[in-house]
Every structure is written in C-alpha cells, then in structure tokens.
Symmetry: C2
Subunit: 281 residues, 2 copies
C-alpha cells in the first residue's frame, strides 16, 4: 500500500500541476513528486517525461522555476518530477553537506551502510515511481527521461542502463563523468564504496560506450557555468566517449548561460519538443 | 548618489535577468529590483514594463517564477520588478505580520509615524525608480505597469493616478477596493491613518471613477482564488465602478485558476502582448 495522497493542485496552462506524497518501498520513507497533467490528459492517456533535479532540490524547484508547463500543455506531455533523495531519516552526517546525503541521492542504489537502507533512488525512479504513475495517472507506455546537473547525470545513467524503458534522454549541464570529479568521488565513495568497479555502473561516460540500442541523447551545457569551469561536469569526456563508441550524441554549448534555472527555462521547450518527436513516433 | 550596484546577472532567453541594489532616497533604505533586458536591448532602447509583486514577495518571486522572460524576449520589452517594501529597518511591529510592514508596502506614501519615514513606495515606484532606470538602462520613454494581488492594486492605483506616465495597466487578482477589505483596512489604517478620505487616493475602484484619460486596463482573476472567496480582492466593485464611469475595463474570470504564480505564468504572455501593442503604438 502506497498511501498515495495529493499534497497540492494548481491549474497551469489549462492543465494541472500537482504534488503527491506516498510511502516508498524503494526508499522505506515517504516520497513526494510533482506531476504536470496537460489539458489532453483529461481526455486520454499521454506520454510521460521524467525530470530529475539537481543537488539540494526537492520536487518544488523544477515545477516552480523551469516553466515546463507551457510546452508540456502544447505537446500533451505529462511531466513527473520526483524529489532528489529520501527525506525524514537522520543518518549520521546526512544533513551536513549540500552535495551529499539529503537532497543529493545521485540516483544510485547505495550498497554501503547506513545509506543502503534508504538511498535507493535508482529503483525508485526506474521501477517504483513508473509503476505508481502507470497505476494512478492517464499515461501511455512510452516515457522519456531528462534532468539537470546531478539529475542530468541521473537521466543519462538511468536511461543508458534501461534502454528498453525510455525513448530518449536529455540533460542540462549533467555530471557526465562522476568517477572523475569531486562530487562523484564523494557521493560514490559513500554510497557505493571505494571499489571503483562499482562506480562504472553509474558513470555516463562509461555507460555510453557499452553495447546496446543507441537512444537519442540531447545535452545542453552553458558556457559560463561555474561548475563546468571547476571540472565537476566534464561534458568533454562524455563527448569523447560517444565519439569513440560511435554513439550519436548531440552536445550543444550555449554561449553565456550559467548553471541556473534561467538556463533551464530558456531551453526546456526545445528539450520537450525533442522528446515529443520520439514519444509520438 | 544612488550607489547602484549589480547583485546578479543570469542569461535568459538570449537576454539578461539582472538584480540591482541602490540607496533609495524615497525610502531612505537600500532597495533591490530585478530587470530583464531582452536581446533587443543590446542594440537600442526598448519600452519598459513595471511589475509590482504581492504580499510577502521580494524582487525574486516574479523573476524566478512568472516565466515572463520568454515573451519579453520575443517582444523586446524590458521588465522591471522592484521589491515590495523597504528593508533593513526595524520599526515596531514591522516584521510581525505577513500582510503589513515588511513585504507589504502597499505602494502608498505613508503619512503616519513611524511608517512615513520609509514606507514611500508610491514615490519610489513612480518617480525614483523610473528616473534611475532611464539614467542607467537603454529604455524608451514609454512605460506600462502591471502587478499581482497587492501589486495589482499598486499597478491600478499608480497607473490611474499617473495617467500621463503609463500607456496601459494590467493586473492579476488585484486588491480592487482596499478601502472595503480587511487587508486594506489594516494597511491603510496604519500607513495613512484612520481618516478614510486619505484612503480614496489609493483605492482603484474609486480612482477609476475620476476624470481623466482612460488608459487601457486588463485584469485577470482566477475563479478558484481563495482570497477572492474571502472578499479581499473585490473585482466586482472595480467592474461596477468602471461601468458607472463608462471606463473601458477588461475583466476576465479564468476558470479554475487560483492566486498562485501558476496562474500568473499561465497568462503573463498575454499581458505582455497587451502592453506591447500600446508601448509600440
């Protein structure tokens, strides 16, 4: 039993932006997610796009700041935006760092204590949440996945690990090679342990080189992104790996844009159009 | 000397969303405002729209949540969004109420101590800020004014009191008859005193009946707005007064929408188009 309960509901562009809460078996905690139901969802099932947010975010950041509802309403897309980690637990050190623990689940299934009891965002995002959405909302089978920063990493790795589940992947400023950047070292070291072999299963620039169906991937990266300059994002490693593997990646550098939601909102419509062509193919 | 200083700058839809800070002579405090500079502003002056926010807001709410930048970029409009009250003072009771004091300047020039030293948002919005914008940014002479809730009240009253300064007025869920609602009683009682004759100078449904040029006015009101149901907004009094005075008001009820930024973002593009036709006439 999930105890699915609606937290809020606001009319938006002729559809409804809702937030729901439920008990998650994957994380063994309550979880919240946002869902935008476009006007078309009132008369029949719609394809769904999953959005994964970045470090420090809850389900609120995307639904209040990205401005995705306008194009989702135009294209008839349902957009689901989960929280970025379990909440309500109080593990040692869980709330002390903005880039690790609460708000920073990194979309992995943790294998290390104490994280492994709750930090299972991989299973939550790829299995439990889609099953719940399928059971309770008017969605078609087809789904796409997208995200920003840590959530761009999540979209890339969960999409590449589950190529039969998604039609397409897109990301804004993703953490593209977490095995090789400070954020990834910290998070993967705690969640997955020090054996780097386990890290490879959640590293986009390694996964993109594996055999499998080549899902369409669109990545936008702002040229003035401070985290790009600090070497946390490493899109050049994703690009080189895709080239090496002959994987058809579209990586665009957007001149002058930074890491913020002002960047996301400027290009979210293009990303939704990108997914729509595959969701409706 | 205003000590004008840029606080932040984010590229957005090909233009720039900036926040600036300066020392205000009107309020005798520092003040912050947001300004969106569309791509067209790089090559020449653009018309400007002033946005006034509602209770509890700073300059941040509108610039992060309304999604105005997209249409402002398309139409070539500069959008200026000031804070809603002086900050940094600590007057008796100033921070104890969400609907009065800080975050709740009500766009009046207070006449009562201790408010009259700082709470002079009328002069700030209609004189000091436009002069500063004119001096430091590439703006044309023409300006429009709009806002939400308390800021919708501000747009209506400041527009109607200064019909030669603005081309057009629009509002989302404005407080339309503050002399006759609890929010207005509380704020005007403190800022303007108990003599209701002074209140009339800041009451839209009274000002709309005065002689003068009939500026185009567009008002959108959500039908599911809790504050509408509580009798804080009273658009029906504005409508009746306009009819009585033969003032060409466009008041639209939007079915199912509430008082939130989800409502604003759904119709902000239409409001900017409305102003653009007069700004570019």
């Amino acid at each position: 039993m999930t105890n699915l309960e609606r937290v809020s509901r606001n009319k938006s562009f002729g559809g409804w932006q809702e937030v729901w809460k439920h008990d998650s078996s994957a994380t063994a905690t309550p979880m919240q997610f946002g869902i935008y139901l476009p006007p078309q969802a009132a008369s029949g099932p719609c394809p769904v796009v999953y959005w994964l947010s970045g470090l420090t975010c809850t389900e609120q950041n995307f639904i209040t700041k990205a401005g995705a509802q306008q194009m989702a309403a135009e294209l008839g897309l349902i957009v689901v935006a989960p929280d970025t980690s379990p909440r309500g637990t109080d593990l040692p050190g869980e709330h002390e760092h903005w880039d690790f623990g609460s708000g920073a689940g990194f979309y992995v299934n943790a294998t290390q204590a104490p994280w492994s009891d709750h930090y299972r965002m991989d299973t939550y995002v790829t299995e439990e949440l889609p099953a719940l959405i399928q059971a309770h909302f008017p969605v078609q089978d087809k789904a796409a996945i997208m995200g920003h920063s840590m959530g761009g990493h999540g979209a890339l790795v969960l999409g590449l690990r589950n190529r039969e589940r998604y039609t397409s992947i897109s990301a804004f400023a993703p953490i593209s090679a977490p095995s090789e950047c400070p954020w990834g070292h910290k998070a993967f070291g705690h969640y997955l342990g020090e054996d780097r072999a386990a890290w490879a299963a959640y590293d986009a620039h390694l996964l993109i080189q594996e055999e499998g169906k080549a899902l369409p991937i669109l990545v936008d990266q702002g040229s003035e992104d401070n985290f790009l300059k600090e070497g946390q994002l490493l899109p050049e490693k994703l690009e080189a790996a895709a080239k090496q593997a002959d994987y058809p990646l579209t990586l665009r550098y957007q001149e002058g844009y930074d890491h913020s939601f002002y960047f996301i909102s400027s290009f979210i419509a293009e990303h939704l159009r990108f997914h729509s062509q595959y969701l409706n193919a």
